[in-house]
């Protein structure tokens, strides 16, 4: 039980939690999606504007724990302005990395590596993946309401 909480709550996480980047509704958003973690009450709305196969803008409104808010904020920085194919690849890579059983190497993903600590906290993994679920849902335009039951 004795684990280092600093591993989970790294400064970069706390910083993004306190000062979430891109927390706004983008202008002329082309799609929205709502994500919900009924187990802890986390809620996030992700809005996107796609242009010429690029994720021109991404914004969100997140109400939740440090992990989910920081994950949303870090995500927005990581995907903004990227080609949609790359965004999709990134989403998959990140979701795969945090849900893989602890022990394996976490891929090099820049600031997102700050979220590697959640792998040691199985119940918190859903907090970290919720914004990414919502982003993919917004981009796929199919399922406008996702949950992490």
């Amino acid at each position: 039980m004795s684990f280092d909480l600093r591993e989970l709550y790294q400064e970069i996480i706390l910083d993004h939690y306190r000062h979430p980047r891109n927390q706004r509704e983008p202008e002329r958003a082309t799609a929205h999606s709502e994500g919900h973690n009924p187990l802890c009450g986390d809620k996030i709305t992700v809005s996107v504007r796609t242009e010429n196969g690029q994720l021109a803008e991404v914004g969100y409104h997140a109400s939740g724990c440090a992990i989910s808010v920081a994950s949303a904020s870090l995500m927005s920085e990581a995907v903004k302005g990227k080609p949609l194919g790359e965004v999709e690849r990134l989403c998959k890579e990140f979701q795969g990395a945090v849900t893989s059983p602890d022990g394996g190497e976490f891929p090099e993903m820049g600031d997102l590596n700050a979220l590697a600590g959640v792998r040691e906290h199985p119940v918190r993994i859903k907090c970290a993946t919720l914004p990414w679920h919502a982003l993919r849902a917004a981009l796929s335009g199919v399922d406008k309401m996702v949950t992490t039951e």
Binding site: S2, L14, C40, G41, G64, C65, A66, I67
Partner: protein
């Protein structure tokens, strides 16, 4: 500070094997009793003994084991009767949980009776288990669910309740003790008011069972539900008390073995109480464990238990409200065993994780009470809930844990 009480929490703790658990280098501090309580040795022994010496299906057996099992099962029902102060043992039905008991009343009592525009009153602080079954039956019948408002302290607005009651009110559903706030509701008076308006009252006693002596006849409750796993008994059981006349007038809920008198393809006739509502093989082993648990609990000095728990709540409230940035949620004058709080800088979920690292088990979330969270303007709370085995030292550990949250989150 030493309190002069003959109730020995140290002795009680020894009866619960799990409380000796260490999580890494920290002792387990279990403050999630409102979710489920731990089980005393006497309960584990009773079940183990049952499986090893008496296991059989009940009621229909001529053989020795079946007779032993039946006798133990029936004795447990009588123990439940005493626990609730019911007039008859057959007014105490075994269900699979508190939730099933409420659904049974909604489907078997309410559904055949409710007409469009009939009203069901529920307090805003009900658990989802005492909201959703009524929403389902409202949809099925055209009846309307109306919330009874609460004030900022988490107490029912009694004036509003009086105004809401009217001749269309058919059912009132009230939680005895709120699982999210700890509020003890004045149900005896509220039941009398409902009766005066001609309504029938279901009391959700899930949280009252472990903390208060209950007397359904004194309360004059029409229906009263218990969640056994919260009363130190095993999972998989609830109790639904119903007044004999009401239960007799209700159609059966489940069809199946043991609830019938005769079956033929032309038609079937049903058994009397309690069998009519207990189709299928019951949770015999669990019920035997329940009986042993309630006997054990009733043998304790329950006033001292109440006093001990009240002291823990008071102490926790004092220590927590001394910490800047901590805000208590739920400040009812009558409270039991539950302390909900939020912090300026940390989300309840993060509070839970930090405390967990200290070996302290609390719950974070909406506690299956979304409407009360909405009403009090918080997305979630951190909740410490006490059992009779908790100590002042554990309350102090909780406060130290919250300090730790502040160290991390500022």
């Amino acid at each position: 500070m030493v309190t002069a009480t003959s109730f020995s929490v140290e002795a009680i703790r020894k009866e619960f094997p799990i409380l000796a658990t260490r999580l890494g280098d920290k002792p387990l501090v279990y403050l999630d009793n409102a979710a489920t309580a731990q089980k005393p040795q006497v309960t584990l022994d009773a079940m183990d003994e049952f499986w090893r010496t008496s296991n059989a299906n009940i009621h229909r057996g001529v053989h020795h084991l079946s007779q032993m099992a039946t006798a133990q099962f029936d004795t447990a029902r009588e123990t439940v009767r005493r626990f609730l102060g019911a007039r008859h043992a057959h007014e105490c039905l075994f269900t699979k949980g508190c939730t099933e008991g409420i659904n049974l009343v909604a489907q078997s009592y309410a559904r055949p009776r409710l007409k469009p525009a009939d009203e069901i009153l529920l307090s805003t602080m009900e658990h989802h288990s005492n909201i959703v079954p009524w929403q389902l039956v409202a949809e099925q019948t055209g009846a309307i669910v109306r919330p009874i408002p609460i004030n900022d302290d988490g107490e029912i607005d009694l004036a509003a309740y009086g105004r809401l009651l009217n001749e269309r009110t058919k059912i009132v559903g009230l939680v005895h003790i709120s699982n999210s706030l700890g509020t003890i509701n004045p149900i005896k008076a509220m039941i009398a008011q409902a009766h005066a308006a001609g309504a029938v009252v279901l009391i959700d006693g899930a949280q009252a069972g472990p903390h208060l002596p209950i007397d359904v006849q004194d309360l004059d409750a029409d229906f009263y539900t218990l969640s056994c796993h919260k009363i130190y008994a095993p999972t998989g059981m609830g109790v639904l008390y119903g007044k004999e006349a009401l239960l007799e007038a209700m159609p059966p809920y489940h069809g199946g073995g043991d609830m019938i008198r005769t079956v033929s393809f032309e038609g079937s006739t049903f058994a009397g109480l309690p069998n009519k509502f207990e189709a299928g093989t019951p949770n015999v082993g669990g019920v035997v464990g329940l009986g042993a648990t309630l006997k054990w609990l009733m043998a304790l000095d329950r006033e001292e238990v109440e006093r001990h728990e009240a002291e823990l709540v008071g102490y926790a409230e004092t220590l927590l409200s001394d910490i800047p940035g901590v805000r208590l949620i739920g400040k009812a004058r009558q409270k039991a065993a539950i302390v909900s709080f939020v912090m300026d800088t940390a989300h309840p979920h993060d509070i839970g994780t930090v405390l967990d690292a200290e070996g302290i088990a609390i719950r974070a979330g909406h506690h299956c009470c979304m409407p009360v969270m909405e009403r009090l303007g918080v997305p979630a709370t951190a909740r410490a809930s006490f059992g009779l085995y908790n100590t002042r030292e554990e309350v102090e550990a909780l406060a130290r844990g919250v300090q730790k949250v502040k160290e991390i989150f500022g």
